[in-house]
Amino acid sequence: MFATRPEARPASVEVFVEDRPVMVPEGASAAAAVLLAGIPAIRETPVSGAPRLPYCMMGVCFDCLAEIDGVANRQACMVMVTPGMRIAPQRGARQARPGLAGKGA
């Protein structure tokens, strides 16, 4: 679990991690928001269902794949937070969902 340091970087952006509000600093990534929220896993692997949290934070490992604002399979460490962003863990492989065509799903 990670914590912010308000004296260094005020947490001014509200996002929702698994529907719970979390305040994070501007410029933080969705993966950082997940670690600050303290949830046990950002995804469960498609192969064995093992829990994972972000590992590299720089776009290499793809262990932070999450559903962000309704779009699955996004590298949460490469997506900066925006006010009201909704971040949900991804369980197994992403689901193809009709009705999201054109939104990158």
Binding site: A41, Y55, M58, C61, D63
Partner: protein, 459 residues
């Protein structure tokens, strides 16, 4: 289609320096970078984090100066939050994804300044939540001012391990333990590499970090072997031969390796660097690769640190201008000289560091068959050994046997370890086992993003 003289991939020290130099020499420049702000990983978010008291000295000073010069330079088209996903080498056309839309641009020359990634550290339990790369924790500090709560263990070795320990301790994290995985005798071996006098400034910097870490109460355990992370659903403890400690966060670090993903996908010639235990592109003294369209600058061409990266960025830009007849050969040599001097000085300590921090054998080839090598497809060392015994000669074959390298990371995490395991099992050099040959798209993109290509751009 827009056309640029030089397209630079990456806005770290090498990419920024190259862009500034090239623009100064009259070239039209495009910089494509995945991050929202310039700096690369070493100076990540320096504009936002420069005032953080945990990140002092060269981060705000040198990093801030590089970014300011880059921002101030005119005639640089800077595309942040943009990903290069395909290169047409013959036509000089790049496919770039930004803001959910893909577009194509033409360039006369391509400079890959894609930097480094942390060397994967495949120890038992490294997939548990709470285990991360040390660099990942540093990125959290730089981009969010965030620090781990509860007991922290940094395990591994290298300059970044000490730097991170100091930065996290300054930021109030802890209690903290550094488990150094270096081997007995590494220091004596390293001393024989020389370069200490030329590299004395960097050496002083390192020693001052060690002293500061001690002052902050960092506990250091040396010669740690057979590291293992344990816990149910999350890391709770770290074990090694003769020791165990409880922790909430385990940060692994065994140095960094060049990010060669795009260069290998483009078929650039690479060679195995035994000293740094990694693949690096074959480059001339200007950074020109085996393909006439492509150059490489910075850590992506071999690990040298940010000062070397800046120098190689300038040299690659000067060479680009010469190739486009914007700079006479004599002027090119004159302009290059100070950067060649700086490069030599920045690299002087490297052979010492490479030997001092050479990863232990079990960090490169997990001895325990149950250890996961491929995090995406959850392929273990034992499975790869079996594949090697069944005849797989390299990571490209193992990909077909076991799907290692076929997950979303495209082998960025497992490729090197798979090759090392096969090499050991078959008794061949790693160079002979070879490297994964990735393919475009260099990063996954959706059908929707592809479909959003402007019709005129579809060849």
């Amino acid at each position: 289609m827009r056309r640029f003289d030089l397209a630079v991939i990456g806005a770290g020290p090498a990419g920024m320096a190259a862009a500034v130099e090239a623009a100064h020499l009259g070239l039209s420049v495009l910089v494509v970078d995945e991050q929202p702000a310039p700096g690369g990983q070493v100076f990540r978010a320096v504009e936002a984090a420069g005032g953080d008291p945990a990140l002092t000295e060269e981060f705000p000073e040198a990093g801030g100066a590089l970014v300011r010069a880059f921002r101030a330079a005119e005639d640089i088209a800077y595309w942040p939050r943009a990903t290069l996903w395909h290169v047409d080498l013959a036509g000089g056309v790049l496919s770039v994804l930004r803001d959910g839309v893909s577009e194509e641009v033409a360039a006369t020359r391509l400079l890959l300044a894609t930097g480094a990634q942390e060397r994967p550290v495949p120890v038992p339990g490294w997939t548990l939540p709470g285990v991360m790369g040390a660099g990942a924790a540093q990125i959290l500090l730089k981009t969010a001012g965030a620090v781990p709560r509860g007991p922290v263990v940094i395990a591994g070795q290298g300059p970044l391990a000490w730097l991170l320990a100091v930065q996290l301790l300054r930021a109030g994290a802890g209690p903290m333990t550094l488990l150094e995985t270096g081997g007995k005798g590494a220091l004596w071996d390293a001393l024989r590499a020389g370069g200490l006098w030329t590299g004395r400034r960097l050496l002083r910097k390192g020693l001052s970090l060690v002293r500061e870490a001690r002052r902050h109460g960092l506990r250091v355990v040396r010669r740690v072997r057979n590291l293992q992370a344990g816990g149910e659903g999350r890391v709770r403890r770290v074990r090694w031969d003769g020791g165990e400690i409880a922790c909430d966060t385990l940060l692994l670090h065994e140095g960094v390796i060049p990010s060669t993903h795009i260069g290998r996908a483009l078929g650039l010639e690479h060679r195995w660097d035994e000293a740094q235990r990694c693949w690096r592109p074959v480059l001339d003294e200007w950074g020109a690769s085996s393909h006439g369209f492509v150059a490489v600058a910075g850590d992506g061409g071999g690990i040298g640190g940010w000062e070397a990266a800046v120098a190689t960025g300038h040299l690659a830009a000067i060479d680009a201008a010469r190739r486009m007849d914007r700079l006479p050969a004599a002027e090119c040599a004159r302009r290059a000289r100070p950067y060649q001097t700086r490069l030599a000085s920045a690299l002087a300590l490297r052979p010492f560091l490479d030997r001092l921090y050479a990863p232990a054998p079990e960090m490169l080839v997990p001895p325990d068959d149950a250890t996961i090598i491929c995090r995406c497809e959850e392929v273990t060392a034992g499975q790869v050994r079996l594949a090697a015994r069944l005849g797989a000669t390299g990571p490209n074959q193992v990909k077909a046997y076991l799907r290692a390298g076929m997950g979303p990371c495209q082998g960025r995490m497992c490729g090197g370890t798979v090759a090392a395991v096969i090499a050991e099992e078959r008794g061949i050099p790693i160079a002979e086992a070879g490297a994964l040959r990735p393919r475009a798209p260099f990063k996954p993109l959706t059908v929707g993003e592809l479909a959003a290509l402007p019709p005129g751009d579809v060849a």
